[in-house]
Structure formats: structure tokens, C-alpha cells
């Protein structure tokens, strides 16, 4: 059952010198190793998830704090995601969920190639940096209670 998905993704081509995205390896349905070997910080990750510009995850997802007004109903609830998925599985779903589900509505937060008509301000950059991805992974891993 464990598929070995494209083992190594080279993302450097489309984003110019100095801006090459950290490479990663997909194993099964996960990216087991932290991007760029970076350590995540859960508190910063929580801020990214709530931030209406950076992560803006609650536009689509229910978060862990039920008192937050106007949360989205589009993706699965993030409460309990740390019990459902390993950090590596969360990482792949954030980096590029289309690897697992080509029709996915979940945006790719760490991908720059194969996108069309990206607004100039965002062109050639991933939606979140490697550090921000690691911060969010660290935060989501703590959300063990549904």
C-alpha cells in the first residue's frame, strides 16, 4: 500500500536564484523530515493559522478554539488533527495536498510551479515559508483533542 511518490521534488527552476524552495522527500503519504531541517515553534504556528493574511486557515477550517467567530466549514476540523495525522502527514497536506488528491480544494502552501495567473505580489513565492510551515506543523501536532 505504501506508494513511493516522486521521491525528490526539484522546485528550484521557477523561482530564480536565491529563492529556491527547500527540497523535500515524500514517503508514502507524508514528508517525514522537517523542511530545511528547521525546528517548528507551535506558538508562532498558531499565530499563522489565525492570521487573516498569512495562513488564513480558519476561512475554510474550524480551529481548536470554538469561541473564534466565523470559522469556515469547507475543510475538515483542525481540532484533533494531531491525533489523526503524524507531523509528516500534516506536512505533505500543507505543502501540496494535490499530490494525494488532484481535485483537492486545500491550497498548496509550499509550491510555486504549475500555478496560473498568480497575482504579481505573490508570484514566484510559496504561500508560506519553510519556517512557517514547520511552525504550523508543530502547532497542529499539539491539537490532539477533537
Amino acid at each position: 500500500m505504501k506508494r513511493l511518490l516522486p521521491a525528490l521534488l526539484w522546485l528550484a527552476g521557477s523561482c530564480g536564484p536565491g529563492l529556491a524552495l527547500e527540497r523535500y522527500t515524500i514517503v508514502g503519504d507524508a514528508i517525514p523530515a522537517p523542511l530545511g531541517g528547521l525546528a517548528g515553534n507551535a506558538a508562532r504556528g498558531e499565530a499563522v493559522v489565525r492570521d487573516r493574511e498569512r495562513g488564513n486557515c480558519l476561512i475554510c477550517h474550524q480551529g481548536a478554539d470554538a469561541s473564534e467567530p466565523f470559522q469556515g466549514t469547507i475543510g475538515p476540523s483542525l481540532a484533533g488533527v494531531g491525533a489523526r495525522l503524524s507531523p509528516g502527514q500534516i506536512r505533505l497536506r500543507m505543502v501540496d495536498g494535490a499530490v494525494l488528491n488532484p481535485d483537492t480544494v486545500m491550497p498548496p502552501y509550499f509550491r510555486v510551479e504549475g500555478l496560473r495567473d498568480v497575482a504579481p505580489a505573490y508570484r514566484g513565492k510559496p504561500a508560506l515559508s519553510a519556517q512557517e510551515i514547520e511552525d504550523v506543523v508543530a502547532y497542529l501536532a499539539t491539537l490532539e483533542r477533537p
Binding site: F70, G72, I74, D117, V118
Partner: protein, 247 residues
Amino acid sequence: MLRLAVLLLLAAAPASAEIVSGSSFLSPEMRRQQEDETRNPGFFWVEQGQELFSRRPEAGGEACIGCHAAPQRSLRGAAATYPKLVSERLMNLEGRIEQCRVERQKQPAFGYESPELLALTAYIASLSRGLPMDVAIDGPARPFYEAGRAFFERRQGQLNLSCRHCHDGLVGQKLRGDTISRGASTGYPAYRLEWNSVGSLHRRLRACSLGVRATQFEAGGPEYLALELYLAGRARGLPVETPAMRR
């Protein structure tokens, strides 16, 4: 009697029976406000448009009403047929008004999203309130319609979503405080609380493009005109509701 009612319903049914107006997703209170001409702020723009329609340009020349007498009758239904091809150019109602302004009134164009053009567009569209959307999508209009459909269906922007993902796939779901509708164009120009003003359909489209971090195309430009034709074709048979109210 029942048979007649069913026939009438069928005749009024939109081309794709599932497409419903954005008004169906309004709160009951906002719906009542929309329907009440004294409480729907959009009618302020309609009144201004009506006034502009009869006003002669300061530099001299005809008022709109000089060519279009009795607009309640002569222009009733006109808005429901736009966008349409006019000498091989795809034109929406705004474009048509600007064409009259420049070529027939010999005045400088108002400009997209200017208060004057919004008021005139809202006024003329309001003359078709309740009539079914009725755009031509075949013959020479077909390639434009297909271009609009392709735009609607392709993923775009840094968030890599298509219009269809939201407006077919996620209808009724909550995106933060908004309830996603079918993306029908039937209420525009519309009064949006977020704008605190009446705005054009293309302004709304620019907001959706920004939402997925995609290129915002020029209001009145070819990309959104083709998209407008596709949206109007999708909404065929739904009543014109301008000026609608939206969150």
C-alpha cells in the same frame, strides 16, 4: 390550473435548473430590505441614474432620453440580453452606455466604476427587474462563452482554486462569515455592505480573483467580459434583480 402553473414554472426555469440567485443566501431580514425600495440603498443609485438619463450634457447635445423615449417601456428587457455582440465586439451594459456616451452624445467616457456609469447602469438594469436573463450564447457569441467557461473552470492564483471549486462545489458552505452562492450575476450593479456603495459585477469578480491571490484583470476588459457572458448564460432564466443587496 395546476398544469398551467407547472408550465409557467418550466418556462421560467433557468437553463441549468440548479443555479439560484445570490439572494437565496441572504438572511431573511436582508432579503426584505433588498425588496423594499425605500430601504434598499441601491435605489439611491437608480434614482440618480434616472435623473442623469434625462439630463442634457453641459456642453450641449442630446440627453439619453432624447433617443430613448419612455425608457420604462422602450428599455424594459434590454439589460437581460447583455453581454452581447455589437459589431463583433462583446459588450456588457456598461460598455453599451459608454458607447452611446462617446459616439452619440460626443462626451468623454464616464469610466468604469465611476458614480455616473454605476448610476446609469443600475437604472437601466432596474428597468428589467423580474424579467428572465436572456443572453445569446450561440452563433458568434459561442467562442466568447466558451472562453468564459474555460476561465471559470481553470485553477488560478497562488491558492490554486477555480471559480467552479467554490461556486459549484462548495455552494452553501461557509467561507468565514460568507455563505458561498452559485456566483450568479443577476443582481449587479449591487449594493454591498462591505463596499458601503453600489459596485459593478467586475468589481465583485476582482474581489474573487484577489481572494485566490490571482491576477485581477481590468474591469471592462476581455477576460471578465467573457466571464460575464458565461455567468449570464449559466443564470439564463433567472430574474434580473438589480439593484441587489449583498453582504
